[in-house]
Structures are given as structure tokens and as C-alpha cells.
């Protein structure tokens, strides 16, 4: 199974990045092989629709789980369409989040925000 996690740095010791669509990288963690792969987030510089673009990349890379602190409604629509489950990140390192997920300690993200839609914080 592949888990996707937004991150600022290519390290499992860092915390999960606070936003989804504009995260610098995405970690793709394979739970079977325990291998980490990092993707540049091409959506970072989007004029708009960053969450949609990021969700598309996550789905295309065959992740079936996303662990994130927040997610907007447009990204959620793409992820749900692609049958990616969205879990709420805990305030801890990426490694601890992966462990928490493996031990079934994470809960599904339910507070989907309406998005910034053209008003992204720069």
C-alpha cells in the first residue's frame, strides 16, 4: 500500500506540512517495502487549483491513503473519486504518523474546508 504525506523536507523525522496543495514535496511511502519516494509538488506555483493538481498527482501515483492536517473540498472531490482515503495527521513527525496509521490510531479527516479558490495565502 502507498501512503502519501505532504512534507517540507525529504526526511521522515520532519512534521507533516500544514497544508496539502502547496506543500513543497509529497512523500510516497510503500508500507510493503518500507521504501520512501519524494515527489516535487508541481502545484506549488499554480495560479489556482493547487489542491486539485496535487490530488491528481497523488492519485496518479497510486497512493490509496493520504495523511494530511487539512484538505480543501476540490482536492477531496478528486481524491474521493480516485478512492484515496484521507486521514487526519497528528502533530508529530512523519514517521510517527506512519506508525500511528499502521496501528490504526489515525482517524479519517472529516472537516474538509471550502478552500481558498483564488485567494491563496502567499
Amino acid at each position: 500500500m502507498i501512503i502519501a504525506i505532504p512534507t517540507e523536507d525529504k526526511s521522515l523525522d520532519k512534521k507533516v506540512y500544514p497544508s496539502f496543495g502547496r506543500a513543497p514535496f509529497f512523500l510516497l511511502y510503500n508500507t510493503d517495502t518500507e521504501e520512501s519516494q519524494y515527489l516535487d509538488n508541481s502545484a506549488v506555483l499554480s495560479q489556482g487549483g493547487a489542491g486539485i493538481r496535487a490530488a491528481q498527482v497523488i492519485a496518479d501515483n497510486r497512493a490509496t491513503v493520504l495523511i494530511t492536517p487539512r484538505c480543501g473540498e476540490n482536492a477531496e472531490k478528486v481524491l474521493t473519486g480516485a478512492q484515496v482515503l484521507i486521514y487526519k495527521a497528528i502533530d508529530a513527525s512523519i514517521k510517527e504518523n506512519i506508525d500511528a496509521f499502521s496501528n490504526e490510531k489515525l482517524t479519517l479527516l472529516t472537516d474538509i474546508h471550502p478552500g481558498f479558490h483564488g485567494n491563496e495565502q502567499k
Binding site: S46, G48, I52, Q56, V78, L79, A82, Q83, H117, G118
Partner: protein, 284 residues
């Protein structure tokens, strides 16, 4: 460009500087004139004019719709869209209406002809009259991506107008402002007497220069103190068209949605002389 040199745009780098105050009162001072409110996200000129005989028109844009049976999943459209208004997940194409900027590129590029366009209402334009002033107002529905199509509708027939036209622009210097000033013959920049005001003045000054528009400045909210915006004008050799005092009486009239130039002889005279100065600069 309109042939009569009769189109004057009023702009400023931020909201609350006095664009509407100046636009509305100049339109009244001009007698027979046209007032066009291009501040489509928050039009308020109509609150002063209270126009009558309003004719309303809905403004529509084109949004792509997908025929799932024809879509091959090639994703040419998804990769093309700079605004990420399209996504492809679980073997189906998703269109995000609110993100779409209606460029039509996805429809052009679809080899399967799986994309077509449908109309979506994004706002409306109202055309009415207040005494001798024709009052046109653009209203963008909340949450829509861009007011540009509404401004295009507001300004599409202005070359047919023979009277002086005053375009009340949106604040700032973004696309909707460029759309509002591009056919103007002259730009009036409204500025406040603060350092922040200078910064905002500089933004719009650079914009009108980029568009090669002749311009002048109206200094609003003037006090008996130093005026950084005035200093900016002197340093950059920008024509100062007039000074509007920071007065309780004017503020009261304005906050009660009264048109000062109609209610008071004093302000009627003040805006008439401002108008004369503007006309002289425009070459009328």
C-alpha cells in the same frame, strides 16, 4: 479607443480612497453624462444615484461539460489547464466550475470531441438613469473567479456614447482594473495623504504608464499637514488636478449616500471646477 476622447477612468491602488466619490460627483457636475461602475465585486455608485428604469442583463460565461462516453482519458485537457479546473480520477473527468476561467482551450484541444460548452451565469449588468446621468452597474456573483466578462459587457458599447463617460474602476492594479482602463482616454488617480497612500498611488501610476494613458491625480482627504502623495506627484511631475478637503460636511453627505454636488452649492462648485481642470487636461 473611442474617437471622441470622452472616456475618463477613475482608479486607485486601494479601496476607500474616494474613487466613487470623485466619479459620481464628476458625472453629476458634467450634467448629461455616463457613469459606469466597474467595481463589480462591490459596486456602490448606484447607492448614490438610485437609478430608475433599470434594464437588467444576465452575464454568462462558458464552462466545459464532458461527455463521459466520448472521453478517452488522454488528459490533454487536464495538462493544458493552467488553473487546474480539470482532473481525471477513477476513469472520469471532473470539471471544477468555480476554478474555470472560460478560456475554451480544453474544448479546442479535445480530439475526441468529448468536451462541449454550457453557459453559466456569473452576474448581471444594470442600466438605468438618474436625472441626466446614465448609470451602468456591473454585479459579479459572490465566489466567481473573474469579473472581466462583466466589465467587457459594461464597456462594449461605450464608443456609441456621445456624453462624457466616467469609469469607476475596481481598486488595485490587477486584471479587472486593466480591463476597465484599456479604452479610457484619460485616467484620474485618487490618492490619500499617507505613506500607504503613496505606495498605492505608485502602483496605479506604474499601471497607467504601462498602458500609455495620460493621467492626473486628485488628492483626497487633504488636511493642513504634509501630504506625501502631493510630494510624490511633484517629484514625478504628475499633474495635480485638484484637492478635496477632509471635511465633516462632505463625509456626512457621502455616508448618507447623498451626492454632494447635487445637495450643496459649495461642493457643486468644487466638483465643477475639478471637472473643468480634467477637461482641460483631456483636451476637451
Amino acid at each position: 479607443m473611442s474617437k471622441n476622447k470622452n472616456t475618463i477612468a477613475i482608479l486607485s491602488g486601494k479601496g476607500g480612497t474616494g474613487k466613487t466619490l470623485i466619479s459620481v460627483n464628476l458625472a453629476v457636475a458634467a450634467g448629461k453624462s455616463v457613469y459606469i461602475d466597474c467595481d463589480v465585486e462591490e459596486p456602490n455608485g448606484h447607492l448614490f444615484f438610485k437609478p430608475e428604469n433599470i434594464k437588467e442583463e444576465e452575464i454568462k460565461i462558458k464552462i466545459p461539460v464532458v461527455d463521459a462516453k466520448k472521453c478517452s482519458g488522454c488528459r490533454t485537457c487536464v495538462d493544458f489547464c493552467k488553473f487546474n479546473a480539470l482532473a481525471y480520477a477513477a476513469d472520469s473527468l471532473i470539471v471544477f466550475d468555480d476554478v474555470c476561467h472560460s478560456c475554451g482551450g480544453c474544448v479546442l484541444l479535445c480530439e475526441q470531441k468529448a468536451l462541449s460548452e454550457r453557459e453559466k451565469i456569473i452576474g448581471r449588468v444594470q442600466r438605468g438613469i438618474s436625472q441626466n446621468v446614465k448609470v451602468y452597474t456591473g454585479i459579479l456573483n459572490t465566489g466567481e473567479a473573474s469579473g472581466v466578462p462583466i466589465i467587457q459587457n459594461l464597456l462594449k458599447d461605450i464608443t456609441n456614447e456621445e456624453e462624457l463617460i466616467f469609469i469607476d474602476c475596481p481598486p488595485g492594479s490587477a486584471c479587472i482594473v486593466m480591463e476597465s482602463i484599456k479604452d479610457a482616454d484619460y485616467c484620474i488617480l485618487v490618492a490619500e495623504p499617507t505613506l500607504f497612500g503613496v505606495h498605492n498611488l505608485q502602483m496605479v501610476y506604474e499601471l497607467v504608464n504601462l498602458f500609455n494613458k495620460p493621467c492626473g491625480v486628485v488628492l483626497n482627504k487633504c488636511l493642513d499637514a504634509e501630504n506625501p502623495s502631493e510630494e510624490f506627484c511633484i517629484q514625478n511631475n504628475i499633474e495635480i488636478l485638484g484637492r478635496i478637503p477632509f471635511e465633516n460636511e462632505l463625509g456626512m453627505l457621502n455616508s448618507n449616500a447623498e451626492i454632494a454636488a447635487r445637495q450643496s452649492e459649495k461642493y457643486g462648485d468644487m466638483f465643477s471646477s475639478l471637472l473643468e481642470q480634467v477637461k482641460k487636461e483631456v483636451g476637451l
